[in-house]
């Protein structure tokens, strides 16, 4: 169900939400967090869709703040989606115009769930300093996605500069499966120290960069990104060890990783690119500061070289 409210204010929206709950009883109570999405235009629907899927694991209230048009006269339009149109969540869209766009945090505050943690998500350009942003300041978790920025690697550098505990970027979740695979490889004999690492793939994507940065910080070795023209993401990795390299390859377009190391049969494992909703779901799983992300972003990133 979608309810549209024109020329409204937040107390009216709040009252409407209570009404809906009493009427339908459908709006479940067990919400675990409020997810605030700052997006406009074409960015809104894909983000809301991902949030709806993620809400099945993390039932949440989703508040979309669409900064809208500053030149129009002051006003607030809103839209409430519940039931089938909102997954396991309820979605509230706020479209302030004109001067009503000021003090945007006061728009959101009355609609936050009591006590529940707040997660801020900028699906496109994050503010320069997420933790200093009026909305970001309220949140336990601030999620950026610099992959969508015009110059992602530069933006990544910006994130490092302003890093505050509680920040994460969705590109970090995009490399979790790769990280798991590499970590599992080092769990097995021969237990040999890694001497250097080469990451293959698209060098201008933040996920490739964060993967390399994490390895550089954790292993304290030289990590080089070998840019592959035409690659859309990470296409492989080589870990150099005394008895010979461990190589993992996922050719562009394939969903299968091939692993090889000396003295062992060549192995394959399916590993598709992760959809946006999966990454968001993972990010919502823990809301405490992600120290390993910090390690990769702040400590590891400057050590990565590109070839």
């Amino acid at each position: 169900m979608i309810i549209t409210l024109k020329g409204t204010n937040t107390s009216e929206i709040g009252a409407k939400l209570v009404d809906l709950r009493e009427e339908g009883g459908a709006v479940a109570l067990g919400r675990v967090l409020t997810l605030v999405i700052v997006a406009s235009g074409d960015d809104i629907e894909p983000a809301v869709e991902a949030a709806n899927i993620a809400s099945r694991e993390h039932p949440c209230r989703v508040i979309v703040v669409d900064p809208g048009d500053g030149r129009k006269s002051a006003g607030l339009d809103a839209e409430i989606r519940i039931g089938g149109d909102a997954g396991a969540s309820e979605v509230i869209m706020l479209r302030p115009t004109g001067p009503a766009r000021r003090e945007v945090d006061t728009l959101v505050i009355p609609l936050l769930l009591p006590d529940a943690p707040i997660v801020l998500w900028w699906p496109h350009d994050p503010p320069e300093d997420m933790a200093a942003d009026p909305l970001g300041k309220m949140a336990q978790r601030r999620i950026s996605d610099v992959d969508a920025c015009t110059r992602p690697i530069e933006s990544l550098r910006g994130l490092a500069k302003t890093y505050t505990p509680g920040d994460t970027d969705l590109s970090w979740a995009r490399v979790t499966l790769w990280r798991g695979l590499v970590a599992a490889a080092l769990d097995e004999p021969p237990y040999e120290t890694v001497r250097s690492v080469q990451v293959l793939g698209n060098g201008s994507r933040p996920s490739t960069y964060l993967f390399a940065a994490w390895l550089a910080a954790a292993l304290k070795v030289e990590v080089t990104i070998k840019h592959e023209a035409g690659a859309s993401a990470i296409t492989g990795i080589t870990l150099d060890r005394r008895s010979g390299p461990i190589t993992m390859r996922r050719p562009e377009g394939s969903a299968v990783v091939t692993l090889a190391q000396p003295g062992q049969p060549q192995l394959q494992i399916a590993m598709a690119m992760r959809p946006l909703a999966d990454c968001l779901m993972e990010d919502l799983r823990r809301l405490d500061p992600d120290e390993i992300y910090e390690l990769a972003l702040v400590k590891g990133r400057p050590k990565v070289t590109t070839a």
Partner: protein, 513 residues
Amino acid sequence: MAPVKVADGQNPLRDAADRRLPRIAGPSGLVIFGVTGDLARKKLMPAVYDLANRGLLPPGFGLTGFARRDWEDQDFRKIAHDAIKENCRTPFDEAVWEQLSKGIRFVSGEFSDDQAFARLATTVQKLDEERGTAGNHAFYLAVPPSAFPLVCEQLAESGLSQSKPGTWRRVVIEKPFGHDLTSARELNDVVERVFPPESVFRIDHYLGKETVQNLLALRFANQLFEPIWNANYVDHVQITMAEDIGIGSRAGYYDGIGAARDVIQNHLLQLLALTAMEEPVSFDAAALRAEKEKVLSAVRLPRDLGRHTARGQYDGGWQGGEEVLGYLEEEGMNADSTTETYAAIRLDIDTRRWAGVPFYLRTGKRLGRRVTEIAIVFKRAPHLPFDLNETQELGQNAIVIRVQPDEGVTIRFGSKVPGTAMEVRDVTMDFGYGHAFTESSPEAYERLLLDVLLGDPPLFPQQREVELSWEILDPIIDYWATHGKPESYRPGTWGPPSADPMLARDGRTWRRP
């Protein structure tokens, strides 16, 4: 900048703070005996696939089926494919299946056939070479316990049960773990002659359920519940596991076993242990086991078993708009069977925490509806500043942990009825797992299989717990064996008439779950 050293058990890429990194099983393979059975088709193989789909199985995982059928690898692959596609929880992905299916093998033979086990040994060894399973193999005995001795012996003789240094061999067995104390010990001797105790994994799939694990979180992660979790506040506890179905075609298995052996010995006594135990010092396997064993060893049976137990056998008739057969009319049933399909018992726990608090356990088939729950029923408030009329409709407060279906927790308490008069009546406050968390949490078997491959034992009962449970149950079963036939009950009701006086004697009534 010196590289960080990598050594056995020392992986610089693993960091306790890194909670995103998945726990992936190391190189390993799973051999399933009785792979044509329901358990393997409906639960085990789909769980293997779901694990693979979630990226939790190692590359090159090997899955070997062993059964009497005259199948080739590809025939078995087809069977596995269909079973998985029909029963998997996560979406079916061809790419994942294709990788998984490359590691699927089939060995045909009887359990008594030495040649077949020699072929199995070769198959497993080949998996090590071709798929890199590195000599680590788990054997899942999805077969009746009567076949355990033979299979274990064959595993030992063919050398399959022995692991080389740095590798492991594990065996997984399912309930029933014997049918009384003596047989449980015999069974254990058979298994432990071949596998060391730490390599034996007894699966009680209830313990893999999220709600059961949540019981531990509810009790020990909160300040709210533990202070009242004792005889000062708790009046009694009811643990129920009800099924609305009959035994169907399982007469051969069920007759002579009965509800108490089938359910109380394992599931209900495990739930009782988790509900009643003291706080473990940590959540590792040894600490948890110590507390469970302690509380099970403190269980006392009622002196008069006739007055404090009840049993029944379902009749035929109409249940929920369907005509159903009575227990004695089921296909292949012995018409004089005295096996009970309903069992209810009272147990007391001789500890300071639970002195005087009875635990009522009941289970049955063809009951009102399918439900498993633990209800902690509290004492009435010692003084009510209301007059009797005002609190007429106020029952006892209760915390109900719903294990299945509709997993969650309900709290019942009194609330004022709107209006000018002061009237108090029971209301419920509800936490639904499905509302607050994922709509599809991992299947119990996924969790348990992964734990077997990782060698992580906290959720598996050990032999001592099994023996303690039989020590509790044996006297009751012996008593029933010498006291005639179970009382019959109408299908679709909450058990035989004698179940009610059993509680009425203590001044209590059964909850309607």
